[in-house]
């Protein structure tokens, strides 16, 4: 008798019946096509099988070894990953087997639930970005950004310069660098001005007839809200593509959208909408563009159609862009995306809705402004005198690393240091404040700052 396993429904007699039907005497025979010299003669050295309870213990111990926001510390870390409250209904719904355990909806007749939800997601992202077309998701923000540049290069052929603001998230720029390293493209970085915004003059000067695209982020890595127009105008003037990067999607509820400002491609991360910080992933890349660009877009698209009875229905469409049809000529190699994260965001946005989302953004803004305002007197002044949303760069007269460590000792993850990525900003760090930081945490930050900073 073989040892039964909970995930393998092979009964005692099933095996023999199947072997008999196949006409072999053992499963080993079914592996005869594997050269003998590569077959293992002993099981993998991996612990288990563990029971559900043993698994709980194992992973409970691991997670308990972390110090995390809410439970162990107050956290003001942002820098591209913002902590937000998630209504309970989100997680409940995405765990329904009918959403969780389904494949990409290639068979639309059996997948209308997923398809309709993606169509809703596309519509919501289009509304938020102010652009008419959005796809079904990208892995996360940085690769979405790289794909945006590659798409620009498809739309504007035979050009070479990729003009990128240095105030874009370092990970995003590094990801871009990896993606174009072997292609006939070159990155031109544009610095930031005394206000922490992309240097508008330098930007205008960097763009020319060889420019593929111009990319800026808002709020940028320093939390500074940039006008999209500088990039949009410079790009338009030279027939290049403008790209707007958003790492804090909640800002779109309050701030002028890339589309309104004339940006051609908006991309970034929408993890803020209903997903956990989760130590970095899975996140939710989004991608929106002008209508003319839809056939050049990466990723999946769901479109509306009708069935043979004339009933409204949804289906994956414009697939000829994709790798499974176009192979090496595809607009991207992406296949698996982050559909379930997009579903979470769709539910989250539906719950908040028109009023809730705006009010939530206001709470973020107000709390961040309040803390930044109060910290000035505690020795932490704003690095840049520019408008910000829910994150702000603060300057310290003490060593940033030492200061952050002191804060940590006081139970506060106070922020992300800027020095490692921007040596000239070694005296500064980023502080993000959201609705997940209750007023008491702001007070605690202030108290700690008064004694430490």
């Amino acid at each position: 008798m073989h040892k039964a396993h909970r995930y393998i429904p092979l009964g005692d007699t099933d095996r023999q019946e199947m072997l008999d039907a196949i006409g072999v005497s053992s499963t080993d025979q079914l592996f005869a096509s594997l050269p003998e010299e590569i077959l293992l003669d002993h099981p993998l050295a991996i612990a288990g099988p563990l029971s559900d309870q043993e698994l709980r213990q194992h992973f409970h111990q691991l997670q308990a070894a972390n110090r995390v926001a809410g439970r162990d510390v107050a956290s003001f870390l942002g820098a591209g990953a913002y902590r937000h409250d998630v209504p309970a209904a989100v997680d409940h719904l995405i765990q329904r087997g009918e959403f969780l355990t389904v494949y990409t909806p290639y068979q639309p007749e059996m997948s209308q639930g997923t398809l309709q939800a993606i169509f809703e997601f596309q519509s919501l992202i289009a509304q938020l970005t102010g652009l008419p077309v959005a796809n079904a998701s990208m892995y996360e923000g940085a690769s979405a950004f790289a794909e945006a540049v590659l798409m620009a290069a498809r739309l504007v052929k035979k050009r070479h310069k990729v003009v990128v603001s240095r105030a874009i998230h370092p990970h995003y720029r590094q990801t871009l660098a990896t993606h174009i390293a072997n292609l006939d493209l070159e990155i031109v970085e544009v610095g930031f001005d005394a206000f922490g915004a992309t240097d508008a003059a330098a930007l205008a000067a960097a763009v020319d007839g060889d420019t593929v695209c111009v990319a800026v982020q808002s709020p940028n890595y320093f939390g500074v809200i940039e006008p999209w127009t500088a990039a949009a105008d410079a790009a338009r003037a030279h027939g290049a593509i403008s790209i707007g990067v958003v790492t804090e999607a909640l800002s779109l509820a309050l701030l002028r959208s890339p589309g309104e400002a004339g940006i051609d491609i908006a991309c970034g991360d929408a993890r803020s909408f209903g997903l956990p910080l989760g130590y970095g992933g899975p996140y939710l890349g989004f991608f929106a563009a002008r209508d003319e660009a839809k056939r050049a877009m990466p990723g999946r698209l769901v479109g509306e159609t009708v069935d043979v009875d004339g009933k409204r229905a949804w289906v994956l469409t414009l697939s000829t862009r994709e790798q499974h049809i176009r192979r090496e000529k595809a607009t991207s190699n992406i296949c698996t995306n982050v559909a379930l994260c997009a579903l979470a965001a769709t539910i989250y946005l539906a719950l908040h809705g028109r009023r809730g989302l705006v009010r939530l953004a206001e709470i973020n803004l107000q709390r961040c402004a309040s803390l930044a305002g109060r910290l000035a007197s505690a020795g932490l002044s704003r690095r840049f005198a520019s408008p910000f949303f829910n994150e702000v760069a603060l300057r310290s007269s003490k060593s940033v690393a030492g200061l952050l460590e002191s804060f940590e000792g006081a139970g506060i993850l106070a922020g992300v240091p800027l020095g490692p990525d921007y040596p000239e900003l070694a005296d500064s760090f980023l502080v993000a404040v959201t609705e997940s930081n209750p007023p008491e945490e702001l007070d605690a930050f202030l108290r700690a700052a008064s004694s430490l900073a």
């Binding site: 429904p9 039907a21 499963t27 079914l30 050269p35 010299e37 050295a45 991996i46 099988p49 698994l55 709980r56 992973f59 439970r71 409250d85 209904a89 997680d91 995405i94 765990q95 959403f99 389904v102 068979q107 639930g113 809703e120 519509s123 509304q127 938020l128 990896t178 072997n182 809200i225 910080l277 989760g278 130590y279 970095g280 992933g281 899975p282 479109g303 009708v306 009933k311 469409t317 994709e322 499974h324 176009r326 192979r327 000529k329 595809a330 991207s332 190699n333 296949c335 995306n337 379930l340 994260c341 579903l343 539910i347 719950l351 809705g353 809730g356 107000q366 402004a369 408008p387 609705e435």
Partner: protein, 498 residues
């Protein structure tokens, strides 16, 4: 009104509108906290020029509305939890519930990716543990957990090959890819700046040694193969192939999407494979979630270790863990932050739930199940290749096409019998392919019911082909106007309504 409409009046909740259709002004689905600080007028904090116009099209719904909407939508999906989902190449196996529990522990869910290493030792230990498990399973010395999915794993793999060649001062132009390969392989190679040379499969459906020998020149960076390949057939000349490729200074990339066929039975590291991605959302039970997320860790031979993407997890002499970006010859990063951590929690949970012995059984039973299906179906359906099948079998519509019935018809008709269809029209080298992968989590009686349905359809194809052209009949919607969708794309609600 027909008899059917009388008996089946429209049930509103089977005809669920879009969120936007359901919106009613003044509703809300959340309670927000008070700001709790003194509030300044928004226009004092932000210049009006930076503010957006009203989001008038965002829907307004209560929590009740939202829960009902998505509950209703969900019921239009067939799912693994309802039954067999035999998509070839997709490894639609049971998704254990304990994975969803462990992945949600607060210490994981609430960890910020940029926390100092000393505050996330639990996470780093977990990443170390899953890397060790994948090292053990692949027999390769390091694994990058960075890539977000299989395709990104491929891309990273090819970039590492490129970096290794660069380090040797070599410029090579081509990557060899068999005609049976998954579309992401050529797409990834091309994204990495290579040109693709397609290798024609031989009559056994495998790589032809002579063809590899001929194609493998010093202009070629390497070969991407799938093991077992997309026909479910083991590339049994793998050792010779590796010898040829290595002989010309190239690298062997293995698409590990089909690892389920031999995990615990044989290690890629012993097959001459230099780099391989693993789809954690296939072999290691991360749920597919309607398309993702997944993760595509990449295992590499020593020669590629210097070029791994950053960050990696390292263990210090005193047993502490760090997230390291100190890898001078790294290809860099292909995404923000470190890894799709939530996927790692789920897959490690699964790995420990199975243990070493359990994993070998995964391969064994998935292969047993596929061969059983093959045996029972190969009379009624044409078997594309006679070569031995591992975890999946590829049939075709050759027999049925005589009656004007296509693979598409068969697939749609299966829905009426309550089954999700197999993967269709892939691999491309089989005309009208029906690619069936039952996985080890399919029970024999479920396979038998599937066979019964397939055989019934084969009979229907002979006796009543028109019925099959009309299928499906018993699904939330019937066959769609896909051409129309592509001709005049309506990609948002606004595109139709506004």
């Amino acid at each position: 009104m027909s008899d059917t409409t009388i008996a089946h009046p429209e049930r509103h909740w089977k005809n669920e509108g879009l969120l936007f259709d359901l919106s009613r002004p003044g509703r809300i689905g959340v309670q927000l906290p008070a700001a709790g600080v003194e509030e300044a007028p928004v226009t004092e904090l932000l210049p009006p020029g930076l503010l957006r116009g009203d989001l008038e099209d965002l829907p307004e719904l209560s929590e009740v509305d939202v829960v009902r909407h998505f509950s209703r939508l969900s019921r239009k999906n067939y799912s693994l939890d309802l039954g067999l989902y035999p998509l070839g190449s997709c490894t639609m196996k049971y998704n254990p519930r304990i994975n969803e529990e462990t992945a949600r522990y607060a210490g994981f869910a609430d960890a910020h990716p940029l926390q100092p290493d000393r505050t996330v030792q639990g996470n780093l230990a977990l990443l170390w543990q899953i890397e060790q498990a994948l090292i053990e399973a692949t027999g390769l010395p390091r694994v990058s957990l960075h890539p977000s999915a299989g395709a990104q794993g491929e891309y990273v793999g090819i970039l590492m090959i490129k970096a290794a060649l660069d380090a040797r001062g070599e410029k090579r132009r081509y990557v060899l890819i068999p005609d049976s390969a998954h579309g992401t392989n050529p797409a990834s190679a091309s994204l990495a700046g290579f040109e693709v040379k397609e290798l024609v499969s031989n009559a056994q459906g495998t790589l032809d040694l002579a063809e590899v020998e001929r194609a493998m020149t010093e202009d070629v960076a390497g070969l991407m193969l799938t093991q077992p390949n997309t026909l479910g057939v083991f590339e049994n000349h793998i050792l010779d192939i590796a010898r040829i490729v290595h002989g010309k200074g190239g690298f062997v990339y293995c698409d590990g999407a089909n690892f389920n066929a031999f995990v615990g039975k044989a290690k890629p590291g012993r097959m001459g494979i230099d780099v391989m991605h693993i789809n954690l959302h296939k072999t290691f039970t991360q749920p597919h979630g309607g398309g993702g997320p997944g993760a595509g860790p990449v295992a590499v031979a020593e020669s590629l270790v210097p070029h791994l993407p950053v960050p990696t997890v390292e263990r210090t002499a005193d047993g502490r863990y760090t997230l390291s970006t100190d890898r001078p010859l790294s290809i860099g990063r292909v995404r923000s932050f470190g890894t799709s951590f939530g996927v790692m929690v789920r897959s490690l949970t699964y790995i420990l739930a199975m243990g070493g012995e359990g994993l070998a059984k995964v391969a064994e039973v998935s292969v047993l199940n596929a061969n059983y299906l093959r045996k029972r179906l190969e009379g009624a359906y044409h078997l594309a290749y006679q070569s031995p099948s591992l975890h999946e079998v590829v049939l075709s519509d050759k027999n049925q096409s005589a009656h004007g019935v296509s693979t598409l018809d068969i697939a749609k008709r299966l829905m009426d019998y309550g089954f999700h269809p197999p993967t269709i029209y892939f691999p491309l080298i089989v005309s009208g392919a029906l690619m069936i992968e039952p996985t080890e989590t399919a029970a024999k009686e479920e396979l038998d019911r599937f066979v019964d349905a397939m055989l019934a359809i084969a009979r229907e194809a002979e006796e009543n082909p028109d019925l099959l052209h009309g299928a499906p009949f018993d699904t939330p919607v019937r066959r769609l106007d896909e051409a129309g969708a592509a001709r005049k794309p309506v990609l948002t609600w606004m595109a139709r309504e506004k």
